[in-house]
Amino acid sequence: MSKYRMSIIVCGGVTCITDNNAIIIQNPKQEINKNGLSEEIQVITSGCFGFCEKGPIVQILPENTIYVNVKPSDAYDIVNEHIIKGKKIERLLYKDPKSKEIVDNSGQNNFFKQQFRIALRNCGYINPENIEEAIAYNAYQALGKVLTEMTPQDVIDLIKRSGLRGRGGAGFPTGLKWEIASKSNSDIKYVVCNADEGDPGAFMDRSILEGDPHSVLEAMAICGYCIGASEGLIYIRAEYPLAIERLKIAIEQANKYGLLGENILGTGFNFKISLRYGAGAFVCGEETALIHSMEGGRGEPTFKPPFPAEKGYKGKPTNVNNVETFANIPAIILNGAEWFASIGTEKSKGTKVFALAGKINNVGLIEVPMGTTLRTVIYEIGGGLKNDRKFKAVQIGGPSGGFLTEKHLNTEIDYDSLINAGSMMGSGGMIVMDETDCMVSMAKFYLDFTVEESCGKCSPCRIGNKRLSEILDKITKGNGTIEDLVLLKNLSNVIKDTSLCMLGGSSPNPVLSTLEHFYDEYLAHVKDKRCPAGQCKDLIHYYIDAEKCVGCTLCARNCPVNAISGERKQPHSIDQSICIKCGTCIEKCKFNAVFVK
């Protein structure tokens, strides 16, 4: 039915466009027209292929040949050799970087795909509100297999062999966690799913619950079978109304089909799941605080031991896992521990979902095998930085994590390498920053989040973080001293050492890691009273370059406080005593005449 015999698809991703893409698309069009093929062959642009290092990319359909590093002058050959004569152009095919051999990629659908989806395997494929689509895509097959063919210990051993570690942040081995809960002696036990996703900019768990809720329900039932629990609870924040709605529908449908509830699949195993709503307090992601909140108490962490596996919800043994951890379980049972363990690095197996955000072109939800480098994630999957700006840092692990810099870009992402580099896996928020981001302000942003979210139980976190925030505020206002930098570091270490829970214990991480990697930037604020990124309002001034200003008056007319004066067609100037540094003049100027110093 297609009118066109072939299509030439030119990458229109931002990185490729800057590489002469406009000409690359024009040239094949001209060649096609010259040969009178415009009725048969179509030339279109696409979004980013996620292989920007080799861009610009050109793809020929239907045979799916992919050409890399294409230059405008290659258009002639693509049309005359490939399209007309059907001969592939070898010099434009991808060469394996190690063997230097040409890789004929025709027909290989997964040639460029650095992403591999296990936890998100069904997201985007099935209707999350229709259990039949989920069943068609293997939902509850793993549960059936476990209940009829395996003992609880078999399953626990399989999960242990797979090497799955908790995806909520700390990376505790999941199989071991289940084993501890299974050995606790009690008539009643609970399975809890931690869906209290709270890191700023993170939405991995929400997307799993909204796209494939059955994967989590199935895994909770499997966990129940393993540890000897017949009740599961999902602790989810009330700010996720769509995820809650879809979970409710999924639970109802699973009950109706006999896949949850009494005597599941005729095996005599009972398991019911219900929801508990959180009010969106960050600290309730900590498992003891989460349990107290579910019991109706204050969301405050308590000392471990006893661990929830011994004494958790209502004093009974409780196994708490994160959404993404659960979503991996059915795939591991169906495909085998060895399959899962073959993906990833030595100590971190499988994949990790990241919410990629910040100053990056392809903001999105990604899932990559452990061991993928930060460079691949940022420059290929993420399509590089917006507006071609320079990479400065990437923040991983949320308010408890740290900032990684240029020198860490080749770090292979796994639990241990991130800790060695001074950050942590966390739940999967990844925020990219460019040269215009002030690291002192960023540290303050994360710290203010912690100050807001501290439950207030322990003084180091409640009072210490407040003091840290005040010192940072002082520095960004240009009133900091060298002694403040020493104090920042010492106080951070005290908070780290003396807090009860991980929220407090890791809260100074953003301060410590910026101090380590961007000490010069702190010094500039403190000694020179200057903000190199041009963000701290008290330390910057706006000026007009008299050479560049043409006197169009646009800035003066838009200045909200009338701080700009000057005759028409004459260079303008800004009165620093009136200027409120709102940045409107920079935005409005069409001649790049306004600058910040």
Binding site: M1, S2, Y4, I9, C11, Q42, I44, T45, S46, G47, C48, F49, G50, L61, N110, K113, Q115, F116, R117, L120, R121, N122, C123, G124, Y125, I126, N127, E132, E133, I135, A136, Y137, N138, Q141, G144, K145, L147, T148, F203, R206, S207, I208, E210, G211, D212, Y240, K256, Y257, L259, L265, G266, T267, L334, G336, N361, N362, V363, L365, I366, E367
Partner: protein, 132 residues
């Protein structure tokens, strides 16, 4: 719906449902998946969903339109996937009403691709042979 009594029944049901989906995927019917997670809905995907539901029958196109979860292309929401009979799936990003109209008129009716299609950048475990 009667409760599924054992694993055999579940396996049988899976095969039935799968072949039903496959017929939809490879038969004469056009299949459209619209990413309706929070992020998609916030960028207007619900309106696009309603647009396809109301416009396709009016234009005489037999299609199955379903909502799905996040495809991951947050920067290009709303995103939709269109599977024409016997064709590879194609993902379209930045779908507003005029683009949706273009997708129906150009791609669904004539098989003509339009600018800005999104290359699929991931492989899912469900595409591995062991899983199917």
């Amino acid at each position: 719906m009667e409760k599924i009594k054992n694993l055999e029944e579940l396996k049988k049901l899976k095969e039935e449902l799968k072949s039903k989906l496959m017929i939809n995927d490879s038969g004469k019917t056009v299949r459209i998946r619209i990413a309706l997670a929070t992020c998609g809905i916030a960028s207007g995907a619900k309106e696009i969903y309603d647009f396809f539901i109301s416009e396709l029958p009016k234009r005489g196109i037999d299609a199955i339109v379903t909502q799905v979860g996040c495809m991951g292309y947050c920067y290009a929401e709303p995103t939709i996937e269109v599977i024409l009979p016997d064709k590879e799936p194609v993902i379209f990003g930045y779908v507003n009403k005029s683009r949706a109209d273009e997708i129906i008129e150009k791609y669904i009716k004539n098989g003509q691709l339009i600018d800005g299609i999104l290359p699929k950048t991931f492989k899912s475990a469900i595409e591995t042979p062991m899983f199917l």
